[in-house]
């Protein structure tokens, strides 16, 4: 066969495959936007669900997700950033750091439902927090820890070595160097990772199934030891567990969840782009 023809055919096939990946994404987004938009209103966003969740709003689920995500971040960011600082700045390249890196890779690969089991075992039962916002936040926090550690590590590693050498040569201590010469430059990268982690935590359902999520609550949570509703779990409940939920309520809930996650991801992408543009070295 003519090699040019062969090339044309091959490239067309590759192109079609790529379309197969990207086009359904657009279709999914369009379906959810079109069918969900009619449900969106201020009442939908800021009211309690009524008549067995078939009407009214989804405010408790939105609020619950915000609480959970906030809790997860409060726990995971300090821990993740400190681990990354240790790995990049202090540890040597030895067996221990190799094991730590392997552990992080594995943490990232653990199925989300296994995190749920773990959260149930340790936070809900062993530490006695019960099914509560605290247990759910900690479980989600542990789940996004690898995301935060990995991106913080990359951010720290991308700060040129010369910055550290100059600072040290001026008599700054190792910690002062990290604090004033390295961290400020790594901050945008760390922030990007944090936002991506946020997006992941907001969308996950399996880890919160047994640690916090409530089917339906008539009132908002009062403390960190209360259960709460959450958006992803709410979508799961109204699309599989409860019959007779109007279609636009289901699509509306999916749309709110999707927008929340996409806005977070978009913010991360923009931040990364700005950071790359500003970078001078």
């Amino acid at each position: 066969m003519n090699v040019q023809l062969e090339q044309k055919i091959a490239f067309s096939i590759l192109f079609l495959c790529t379309l197969l990946v990207v086009v359904p994404v657009l279709i999914i987004l369009v379906i959810i936007f079109v069918k969900g938009a009619s449900a969106l209103s201020l009442n939908f966003l800021f009211e309690m669900p009524t008549s067995g969740m078939t009407a009214g709003g989804i405010f408790p689920a939105i609020l619950g997700t915000l609480y959970l995500v906030l809790g997860a971040i409060l726990f995971a960011v300090p821990l993740g950033v400190l681990s990354a600082i240790y790995l990049v700045e202090y540890s040597r390249d030895n067996a221990l750091s190799r094991i730590v890196k392997l552990a992080i890779v594995n943490l990232a690969g653990v199925p989300s439902v296994v995190y749920g089991l773990f959260g149930l075992g340790i936070f809900v039962l062993f530490l006695g927090f019960g099914a509560s916002i605290l247990s759910g936040s900690l479980t989600l926090g542990i789940m996004i820890l690898p995301v935060i550690i990995t991106s913080s590590r990359e951010a720290l590693e991308s700060v040129p070595q010369s910055f550290r050498i100059v600072s040290l040569s001026l008599g700054a201590s190792k910690w002062q160097t990290i604090r004033h010469s390295v961290l400020p430059h790594a901050l945008p990268g760390i922030l990007t990772g944090t936002i991506l982690g946020l997006g992941r935590a907001a969308g996950e359902t399996a880890p919160i199934l047994f640690t916090v999520a409530a089917f339906y609550l008539p009132k908002l949570p009062q403390s960190v030891f209360d259960q709460t509703m959450a958006l992803p779990y709410h979508l799961y409940v109204i699309s599989t567990q409860v019959p007779g939920i109007p279609e636009n309520v289901r699509y509306g809930t999916a749309l709110v969840l999707l927008m929340l996650v996409l806005i977070l991801n978009l913010a991360a992408i923009i931040l990364r782009y700005q950071f790359r543009k500003r970078k001078k070295w």
Binding site: P24, V25, S83, V100, L145, G203, Y236
Partner: protein, 270 residues
């Protein structure tokens, strides 16, 4: 800290799950054909669940591996710069969609569609699960394979072109060949994601804990079983322990898969 957490996860799974093996021998647990956790006496054989997971994963792999690798080649080698940025953004977008939303869409669009074409009583089958999961594996496979392809040294391409090879011959025989370890890692990580996926699979596979005879029947996976049944168990009871034991099995499977992927990633870096 990370080591401690990995160890803690494993320790707690063992602590809660091992007690089931006092009552059910490991071989029966893994290979008995019946999962009837709430009948009397209960039967805890996870073979149907393992087969469910394997079937759905294999299906997803068959769909997503060729398409994913092809897209990665297209994005890395052929697409012009601007198109490349758009495509990469699209794939990042796909990775960002929460699994419960993908499950929901699969349930309301793909389910009825499959029911219609194959004339079935329900569209929530292993096939629907495979297609849905293929999409969830795609971003992982494409982005990691694309990294591997981009990392192939420029000289390889230049040398091949200089020898008179067409761009396609270079892409297929030289670049793709050199990027193999990275591609293997991409595939492994994609499969790891599929095996661990819970919500989407629970919503689209129909959830029947029976050994399926074809891909057009409902199945239930390991992950979905944990998620669906944990709410109904008595804490500390046999059923509860059995679900944690499934967690142990999943943990070990993903541990192995990630280990293999890591080895190939290191190979790719060299």
């Amino acid at each position: 800290m990370s080591i401690v957490i990995v160890a803690l996860i494993f320790a707690f799974l063992l602590k809660e799950g091992l007690s089931i093996f006092w009552r059910v021998p490991i071989s029966d647990f893994l290979f008995a054909r019946n999962w009837y956790p709430i009948s009397d006496p209960p039967q805890f054989g996870i073979l149907p669940l393992i087969i469910g997971s394997i079937l759905v994963t294999a299906g997803a792999g068959i769909i997503s591996i060729p398409i994913g690798i092809a897209s990665a080649l297209f994005i890395a080698e052929i697409a012009p710069r601007k198109t490349k940025e758009v495509l990469k953004a699209g794939i990042e977008l796909l990775a960002a969609i929460p699994s419960v939303v993908i499950g929901f869409i699969g349930m309301v669009t793909l389910g009825p569609f499959i029911k219609e074409i194959f004339n079935l009583s329900t569209g929530l089958t292993a096939l629907s699960g495979s297609i849905t999961l293929a999409f969830m594996a795609m971003p992982t496979i494409v982005s990691i394979a694309e990294d591997a392809i981009t990392a192939v040294p420029r000289q390889y391409r230049e040398a091949a072109i200089a020898m008179g090879a067409t761009k396609w011959q270079t892409t297929w025989r030289i670049v793709a060949y050199a990027a193999r370890p990275g591609m293997v890692a991409a595939v492994m990580l994609g499969i790891g994601r599929v095996i661990g996926e819970t919500m989407a699979v629970m919503m689209v596979t129909g959830n029947a804990a029976l050994i399926p005879h074809s891909i057009l029947q409902p199945v239930r996976t390991l992950t979905a079983t944990i998620a669906a049944e944990m709410g109904e168990t008595v804490q500390g009871g046999e059923h509860y322990a059995a679900l944690f034991a499934i967690g142990i099995v999943l943990f070990i499977i993903t541990f192995l898969i990630n280990g293999i992927a890591d080895i190939y990633l290191h190979k790719a870096k060299k």
